[in-house]
């Protein structure tokens, strides 16, 4: 195994483009090291991206949007008061990943590029309209995060490409987000279902919404029909019923030891409904703790 720690993204991309065999980028290593140690994936080339300048920065831009470095850990996100206040759902989704020890290392980009359908931060990023700058041998491009995972363990990144920054939109007025997951325990488990809702209000009426589900399909899924159920409503019972139906309809889950198809399909609606209520209350200016605070 070749180990590199380049100083720039251009250098990282060039190393990956020239590498033979299996290549991995090393962010927090909480997936890479587990796969390495259990002989699931032994990279021929491992490229540590943490020595690249700025990868630990959390930057609030003049227009209210955020630029996050790709080595920012879950702990660093959740210690950042203003980011947590603006995007509580996204920060809580990240905070659900693993223990204190895992939080010290795990990153959003790693969670995304590992390609797990149950990745907790991904539905929250999709609902929040997060975009990623990708650096590769051909230069830079920016894409919506939902276009990156293409199946379990697979991404749309080409050989030599890596994420060099993540962009979170400006929060703006009267808006809120939330992410909830169902697990059989209270801590330290993999999502059976995850649901993220991000919405904006005009008075009591929802004017914008995005709903994304995790662990119910081969990739995290944006559900436009679920968003349509919310838009124009005041989150009344009728709208919630339509939301639940749209979420269940969007599910094509697997049966496994964590949950059956029928269970996942039903719980997806329930989680989305609860997340919508929290996002709505947050948009109204209420401070609500989603999961453990």
């Amino acid at each position: 195994m070749q180990f590199h720690s380049p100083a720039t993204f251009v250098e990282a991309a060039a190393l990956a483009a020239e590498a033979q065999g299996v290549t991995r980028f090393l962010a927090g290593g909480t997936d890479v090291l587990v796969q390495l140690r259990s002989d699931m994936v032994t990279p021929d080339t491992l490229i540590d991206i943490k020595k690249i300048g700025g990868v630990r920065d959390i930057k609030l831009n003049d227009d209210g949007s955020w630029t996050l470095g790709v080595a920012v850990s879950g702990a660093e996100m959740n210690e950042h008061g203003p980011l947590r206040a603006a995007w509580p759902g996204l920060c809580e989704a990240m905070d659900l990943i693993g223990s204190t020890q895992i939080q010290g290392r795990a990153t959003l980009a790693g969670n995304l590029c590992n390609g797990s359908p149950a990745a907790d931060s991904v539905p929250a990023m999709v609902a929040a309209c997060v975009t990623a700058t990708i650096t590769g041998p051909q230069g830079e491009r920016t894409v919506a995060v939902e276009s990156i995972p293409t199946g379990p363990g697979l991404t749309s990144l080409e050989k030599g490409e890596l994420i060099s920054a993540l962009h979170i939109p400006a929060r703006g007025e009267n808006a809120g987000d939330a992410y909830l997951r169902f697990i059989p325990r209270t801590e330290m488990d993999i999502a059976v279902v995850g649901a993220a809702v991000n919405l904006r209000l005009d008075g009591d009426t929802i004017t914008e919404a995005r709903v994304a589900l995790g662990a119910v399909a081969p990739t995290v899924r944006l559900v436009p029909e679920a968003a349509e159920a919310l838009i124009g409503s005041t989150l009344d019972d009728g709208a919630l019923e339509k939301l639940v139906a749209a979420c269940s309809a969007a599910c094509s889950p697997i049966d496994d030891k964590r949950g059956t198809i029928a269970f996942r399909t039903e719980v997806a609606g329930v989680m989305a409904k609860r997340a919508a209520r929290i996002a709505y209350a947050r948009a109204k200016g209420e401070t609500i703790e989603g999961h453990h605070g």
């Binding site: 290593g29 090291l33 140690r37 540590d48 020890q101």
Partner: protein
């Protein structure tokens, strides 16, 4: 396979080692630096027996490569006591019988110390969440939690 030369600081002392690119920080600490306090329970980030801090951040040393320690500051359980003087956490663990086989103890002491540096006055719930990644097969946790709460109280009084 070519070895990587790494210079790092462990418990305040500068150290150098050569390691294989696949070797974890846990392997390096135990097998190359003879610091066998950190234990390998699972090797996959689930049990916390290998907990150390790296640049002040609590991590599982089984999920860090030795090569990543270049230029970092590592702290292990061996650095907690000051010579013969035990840290309040260590004393309270003995007083409360918060250990039986002891495999989990070094990791829990390192994790609890990191907690108290950040939250000197934690609630019981905070302690339980913070230590959720440190598994213990012997004690049933209550004694561990009591020892940490008691050590926190003593350290606040002394501060």
């Amino acid at each position: 396979m070519s070895k990587i030369h790494v210079t790092t600081t462990v418990n305040g002392d500068e150290m150098e080692f050569l390691c294989d690119p696949r070797e974890t920080l846990l392997d390096v600490l135990r097998d190359r630096l003879n610091l066998t306090g950190a234990k390998e329970g699972c090797g996959t980030g689930d049990c916390g027996a290998c907990s150390v801090t790296m640049n002040g951040r609590l991590v599982c040393s089984c999920l860090v490569l030795g090569a990543e320690a270049e230029g970092a500051e590592i702290a292990t359980v061996e650095g907690i006591a000051q010579g013969d003087r035990l840290h309040p956490l260590q004393r309270k663990f003995i007083e409360h019988a918060a250990l039986q086989c002891g495999i989990c103890t070094p990791g829990i002491l390192v994790a609890a110390k990191a907690l108290l540096e950040k939250h000197p006055d934690p609630t019981e719930e905070q302690v339980r969440f913070w230590l959720a990644g440190n598994l213990c097969r012997c004690t049933g946790y209550d004694k561990i939690i009591r020892a940490v709460m008691d050590a926190a109280a003593e350290m606040r009084e002394a501060a």
